[in-house]
């Protein structure tokens, strides 16, 4: 390989990808805030932001301008340098992860003056990608706990501690869920995991129903989202670890939260939903689905998960802190250990064993669902009449 070619592969192309992806993610996070507000409004039968631009689509631009030009308030007694360092420490790992997310397969394109170039819809395909994702995202915890501590405010301090405790607690079931996915794919490389779902002729959601459930629940907790947004529980802790943050510094925390949501959704897609593969990648009758390019499939699947995030927010009330810790340590960890042993047993029988496990799991899940709905339907609905006091008031009116 001559020097210009290695400059191209090792510097130019990845650097261009870094610039494009980081800007895209920052924009996507902004758009996501708008979509979230509109979706929440829809779920709660109100209008949501609809003034700035057509249907309020430019709302996030207005928000960005406002946040950028807002006064930068740092409490006088705060640790100034660490107070500044914390958002950077949160953002760097949050965006660095995007280097290994596999948005699509390799492709060749022709650039005038450079000739044919073969590159891929990801910046790096490492043989330890998945381990790297877990490692890098954990570093963000330092930013949160340092930000809470450096603010020198008791709400921020408690919020930061809570957040750290929550994040490390849910790291454990998440790790076990990821291990069961590796068992199925026999690789740590995200690209190979997606390709394995083509060669195994199934998405890993089939045998990985429980693993996916564990991964996504832990993922919601890892991103501090409702129903696990304890660190920011405003009724107890004002705004949690970012109580003393405002303007652009606060925006960085916020932006990273949405970037992390995209990361969790993207990893869930790659591990369990076939990444950029179309549904049923081995069925030839569905080959017409290949009209949709692989990248769009990936984006589509990730968008579905992001919608589920927002749907959660519109649906669930917040957990209490002791319930949250009990759920993580006493429920999710035993389930994830059992699930790991089950998957390991099934993997002894190769792909066929995994397929049988998948059919059993899905059968059990659908059966349980049917039985529960049948029982609910059989039982007369619990007293739907309002309490006496309310009925009396209604009668008056």
């Amino acid at each position: 390989m001559d020097i210009s070619a290695s400059v191209l592969t090792y510097f130019l192309i990845p650097a261009v990808k870094a610039v494009v992806v980081v800007i895209l993610v920052a924009t996507a996070a902004g758009v996501l805030t708008y979509i979230e507000r509109r979706t929440l409004a829809f779920l709660q039968v109100r209008k949501g932001p609809n003034r700035v631009g057509p249907e309020g689509i430019l709302q996030f631009v207005a928000d960005v301008v406002k946040l950028l030009t807002k006064e930068d308030v740092v409490p006088a007694k705060a640790q100034h340098f660490i107070h500044f360092l914390a958002p950077v420490l949160v953002m760097v790992p949050g965006l660095a992860v995007f280097a290994v997310l596999p948005w699509g397969p390799e492709f060749t394109m022709r650039i005038p003056g450079l000739g044919k170039i073969t590159t891929a819809w990801y910046a790096a395909d490492l043989n330890v990608s998945l381990l790297l994702v877990l490692a890098i995202t954990s570093v963000g915890i330092y930013g949160i706990i340092l930000g809470g501590w450096a603010s020198n405010s008791k709400y921020a301090l408690l919020g930061g501690l809570r957040s750290a405790a929550q994040l490390i607690s849910y790291e454990v079931p998440m790790g076990f869920a990821v291990v069961s996915a590796i068992l199925m794919a026999r690789s740590l490389s995200l690209v190979e995991i997606v390709e394995a779902q083509r060669t195994h002729q199934m998405w890993f959601i089939l045998p990985g129903l429980v693993s996916f459930f564990l991964y996504f629940v832990s993922g919601v907790a890892e991103t501090n989202r409702i129903p696990f947004d304890l660190p920011e529980a405003e009724s107890e802790l004002v705004a949690g670890f970012h109580t003393e943050y405002s303007g652009f510094r606060w925006a960085i925390f916020f932006l990273t939260e949405y970037a992390n949501m995209i990361t969790i959704s993207a990893i869930a897609t790659a591990l369990f939903f076939g990444g950029w593969l179309r549904p049923f990648p081995s069925v030839h009758a569905l080959a017409f689905l290949d009209v949709v390019p692989p990248v769009l499939w990936y984006v589509l699947k990730v968008s579905c998960f992001l919608f589920v995030y927002i749907w959660f927010r519109g649906t669930f009330p917040r957990y209490r802190f002791d319930q949250l810790m009990a759920l993580g340590w006493k429920t999710l960890i035993p389930i994830s250990l059992t699930n790991l042993v089950l998957v390991a047993l099934a993997a002894l029988g190769g792909f066929r064993g995994l397929r049988i496990l998948g059919i059993v799991l899905w059968g059990a899940a659908i059966g349980a669902f049917l039985i529960v709905t049948r029982l609910r339907a059989a039982k007369p609905p619990a007293a739907k009449t309002a309490p006496a006091s309310v009925r009396a008031r209604a009668a008056e009116a």
Binding site: E71, A99, L340
Partner: protein, 122 residues
């Protein structure tokens, strides 16, 4: 440069880009944004009477420490499982038995911690 190390370079570029946004954003916008600090504005947020002590001095529950220690135990466990999971299709039954023994030891510790109340937050 060793090509296998060079494949990690994109992560460095991404990290640099990610660091540029907050640093450059804060620096550039200092020209545009107002700055009118007052003592009240710079006081830490407080509900009611301001706290006479620094938040740095506040004590917090020892349970945070317990959770951290338990996390280290379990996380190291997961790290051992990663290479095992990649090689499992070659280790076959031997790998399964070995890992079951390993998990059994962990579960003993887990049950002990549970019975001692280390997992309950109240």
């Amino acid at each position: 440069m060793n090509p296998s190390m060079a494949s990690y370079l994109p992560i460095l570029y991404f990290a640099i880009m990610a660091a540029i946004i907050p640093v450059a954003g804060l620096a550039a916008m200092s020209l545009l944004r107002p700055s009118k600090p007052t003592p009240t504005k710079l006081a830490p947020y407080e509900c009611g009477v301001a706290s006479p002590t620094e938040a740095f001095d506040h004590r917090f529950s020892v349970r945070y420490y317990l959770i951290a220690v338990l996390f280290v135990v379990f996380d190291v466990e997961t790290i051992f499982l990663f290479p095992w999971a990649v090689m499992y299709h070659r280790l076959k039954l031997f790998g399964l038995v070995e890992m079951l023994v390993f998990l059994a030891i962990l579960v003993v510790g887990y049950v002990y911690a549970w019975r001692r109340g280390a997992l309950s937050w109240a």
